[in-house]
């Protein structure tokens, strides 16, 4: 035995206390790190909310009340926002010049059975063209909300002269009011929620005050639809193959390793793959040309919803496969044995016993993957999201924009009011993601209860 000695008495106590203190400090710093991460999350959310609501100094080119009065209605009784489609069109006819009107009508008609700005003969002539046939010839009709948005955008032309954040608006309201009265004597200082029903239902616009996310939301939904239709069946099939059929061969190991590696490839690389393959090589298919479905001016080459959806499909395919594999692996082996021992074929057993029991897990994984697709931006930029479209996507072969793209574009604009609508758009996106995640959680809980 060596001659050394351990501390005793007061010395020991001091040593132990020192070690305890160290423990407490570091424990606090571990907790602190975690809290910092959570703080970052809260700050991020607070920052968005802070921008999405607040005071605005608004100046209208024409007051809404004056427009209501103009068509012979009482502005006290009916607000502009409550007018019918016919009344709104009266306002529109009375206040914009014919050229603008015709342009709008060629984008999309106002009525299915009559024309407002164009003459019938001219309309028939331009719609008979082989090239440059306007989108309006397809027969889609603008809805009431759309006409209202046009009235606001073209005639009322509200302009945000300055915007304030939510925190400033609440804490320094009086200072802001005083400053605004001096700087913008003609403007109304109003508290505005940039996130509103109008914001959700209005199409894209170059003016932040009237812009909305309808085009982008519909674009996102179309893209995600294509993504699901492609990646869900393929992903589940691949997972079934790997878990149920694949023997331990070199090829099958390669497939598995490859899937794991694909899950780590940066999303922008998928965008480049999509650009080169779907947009360029497969242009005939992704542009819809092979169906003869190209409606003059509606699509532009292969930069369509299909290309975007397939690109995101490839992107989330590894995630769907890996999640589905886990779900399939969790199905007890005894069910497979029982099925096979009854003289069922392998596919009969898989279909009747393995898949039904793996479905909740597969769906949960797939929903989370779709949530990932819904928030992806970079690949869509590369595949070629349109920088500015105001018409709703009409189908898989339409040009597209998407909600994250819209957020990206608005964030990149220097003007404050675009920051505000970017924040509002982020809230819309987060709500969509929240809905998806909630669905996944409900599924997971239901599954957990059953097992």
């Amino acid at each position: 035995m060596s001659a050394g000695a351990f501390p005793k008495g007061a010395q020991l106590e001091a040593q132990i206390n020192r070690r305890r203190r160290q423990g407490v400090y570091l424990r606090l710093s571990f907790l602190g790190s975690l809290m910092l991460a959570i703080l970052a999350l809260l700050t991020l959310l607070a920052n968005i909310i802070n921008s999405a609501f607040g005071l605005v100094a608004l100046e209208n080119a024409v007051s809404p009340a004056a427009l209501v009065e103009e068509i012979g209605l009482d502005p006290a009784g009916s607000a502009l926002s409550d007018l019918s489609k016919d009344d709104l069109l009266l306002v529109l006819e009375g206040n914009i010049n014919n050229n603008v009107g015709r342009r709008l009508e060629r984008e999309q008609r106002f009525y299915s059975d009559s024309l407002v700005f164009e003459t019938q003969t001219k309309w028939d002539e331009i719609c008979a063209r082989e090239v440059d046939r306007p989108a309006g010839c397809s027969g889609d009709v603008r809805g009431r909300d759309d006409v209202y948005a046009l009235v606001v955008e073209q005639i009322v032309q509200p302009k945000a002269l300055e915007t304030w954040s939510l925190i400033d608006s609440v804490l320094h309201r009086s200072e802001i009011e005083a400053a605004a009265a001096v700087s913008y004597p003609d403007a109304d200082l109003v508290f505005r929620s940039w996130l509103s029903m109008d914001f959700v239902t209005s199409p894209q616009s170059p003016k932040a005050e009237v812009a909305g996310v309808r085009t982008a939301v519909l674009g996102s939904l179309w893209i995600v639809l294509v993504t699901i239709v492609f990646s869900f069946p393929v992903g589940v099939a691949a997972a079934v193959y790997l878990e149920e059929y694949a023997r331990d061969t070199r090829l099958n190991r390669l497939i598995q390793t490859n899937i794991n590696n694909l899950a780590g490839v940066p999303s922008i690389i998928y965008g480049m793959l999509g650009l080169a393959i779907f947009v360029r090589v497969l242009e005939t298919f992704t542009s819809g040309a092979f169906l003869g479905a190209v409606d003059g001016g509606v699509t532009a080459n292969g930069r369509t919803v299909v290309s975007a959806g397939l690109t995101l499909g490839l992107l989330i395919l590894p995630i769907i496969i890996i999640n589905a594999q886990e779900a399939i692996r969790a199905v007890p082996q005894s069910l497979r044995s029982a099925g096979m021992a009854l003289g069922a074929t392998q596919w009969q057993t898989i279909r009747a016993h393995v898949l039904p029991n793996a479905v909740p897990g597969i769906l949960t994984g797939a929903i989370l993957a779709v949530a990932r697709a819904l928030g992806e931006t970079a690949p869509l930029v590369v595949v070629g999201a349109s920088t500015f479209i105001t018409t709703d996507p009409s189908g898989p072969f339409a040009k597209f924009t998407a909600l994250p793209i819209q957020i990206f574009q608005w964030t990149s604009r220097p003007q404050d009011e675009f920051r505000n609508i970017a924040a509002a758009a982020i809230i819309v996106l987060l709500i969509m993601l929240l809905a998806l995640n909630a669905t996944a959680i409900v599924l997971r809980n239901r599954y957990a209860r059953r097992v």
Partner: protein, 321 residues
């Protein structure tokens, strides 16, 4: 003779019957699995082909690409280093933020937190992981940058800067680091902890000196993956780091004032790809091809890091599973 013995005499047919449905199902599922292989081949082929076209032009050589510190397509200067510099800066800052915070979080969750606290805290981290990167970009530009500017001074911190992007990318990958590290810490057998406690070690000593070293290869894997993720991250840098390559000149420009200065702008590899391909890019132009050359480099870098991290994970699993 009993009845079933009689049945035995009657010949039965055990011969394999054609089952077209089985063959069809298995075949199509195999094809679904092959799509992943095709994807990889597609990526390698597409990036490789366009990059090859890029290097075959007279305007650029491999030597210039890897040797020059000027990226200015307008005057046909294609040196990758300005873009690599920004990418490296952003990744470095991101890792400096994410690894300590993520690891500390993992230690707390794995060693200290009660089951109930874990149940509350882990989903919060998952929320952090589920927020789209474009939202983080918004956060970087509208919160982190103004904050840095108010701390360090408007004259020092540019509106677009790699520090802000790097910090936010770091926040974005905290959940990745923490969940991978936690898995690694969790896999360390309880017996090892008990042995250390048995020798009179405190909880901290057990966590830091026993569990953490035992989980080291798993934690290293998390570190490597986080670098790969930071390099490939796109939207945050596209929004907040700057929209033009920061050319530099070793020898002329100060190392600290320019080359390693985190407060000045600088376009990263991913940021450049997004900006160039987001515009009206004509196919078969040198710009188009150059973007793919950058993409190829990006792909190889991240693939290399991911493979490296898998090796660490594999080594870790070998020991404890």
């Amino acid at each position: 003779m009993n009845p079933s013995a009689a049945a035995t005499v009657e010949a039965i047919d055990l011969t394999r019957k054609p089952r077209p449905l089985e063959v069809l199902v298995q075949g199509s599922m195999f094809l679904a699995g092959m799509i992943s292989i095709l994807t990889t081949i597609g990526i390698v082929f597409v990036l490789g082909r366009e990059a090859l076209l890029f290097f075959q032009t007279d305007e650029v050589t491999l030597g210039e690409f890897f040797g020059s510190t000027t990226w200015e397509p307008q005057i046909l200067e294609f040196g990758i280093w300005p873009l690599v510099r920004s990418t490296m800066m952003v990744s470095l800052i991101a890792v400096l933020v994410a690894v300590p915070l993520g690891l500390a979080t993992a230690i707390y969750l794995s060693e200290y937190a009660s089951e109930r606290a874990r149940g509350i805290l882990k989903p919060i981290l998952e929320v952090l992981a589920g927020i789209p990167t474009v939202v983080y970009g918004y956060f970087a530009l509208t919160f982190m940058t103004p904050m840095l500017r108010s701390i360090f001074g408007v004259s020092i911190v540019e509106i677009f800067n790699v520090a802000s992007a790097g910090i936010v990318v770091g926040i974005l990958i905290i959940p990745l680091v923490s969940s991978m590290s936690e898995d690694a810490l969790h896999a360390v057998p309880l017996s090892l902890r008990e042995a250390a406690y048995g020798l009179g070690a405190t909880k901290l000593e057990v966590s830091l000196r026993i569990v953490l070293p035992a989980a080291l290869s798993g934690v290293t894997a998390a570190f490597v993956v986080s670098v790969s993720r930071a390099i490939g991250e796109t939207m945050v840098v596209a929004i907040a780091a700057g929209a033009s390559p920061r050319n530099w000149n070793l020898g002329k420009d100060g190392v600290l004032t320019t080359i390693l200065n985190p407060f000045i702008s600088g376009e990263t590899m991913t940021g450049h790809i997004v900006r160039i391909s987001g515009g009206d890019l004509s196919y078969n132009s040198i710009d188009y091809n150059s973007v793919f050359a950058i993409g190829l480099m990006l792909f190889l870098m991240t693939l290399g890091l991911n493979l490296l991290s898998r090796r660490f994970v594999a080594r870790f699993r070998e020991v404890y599973e």
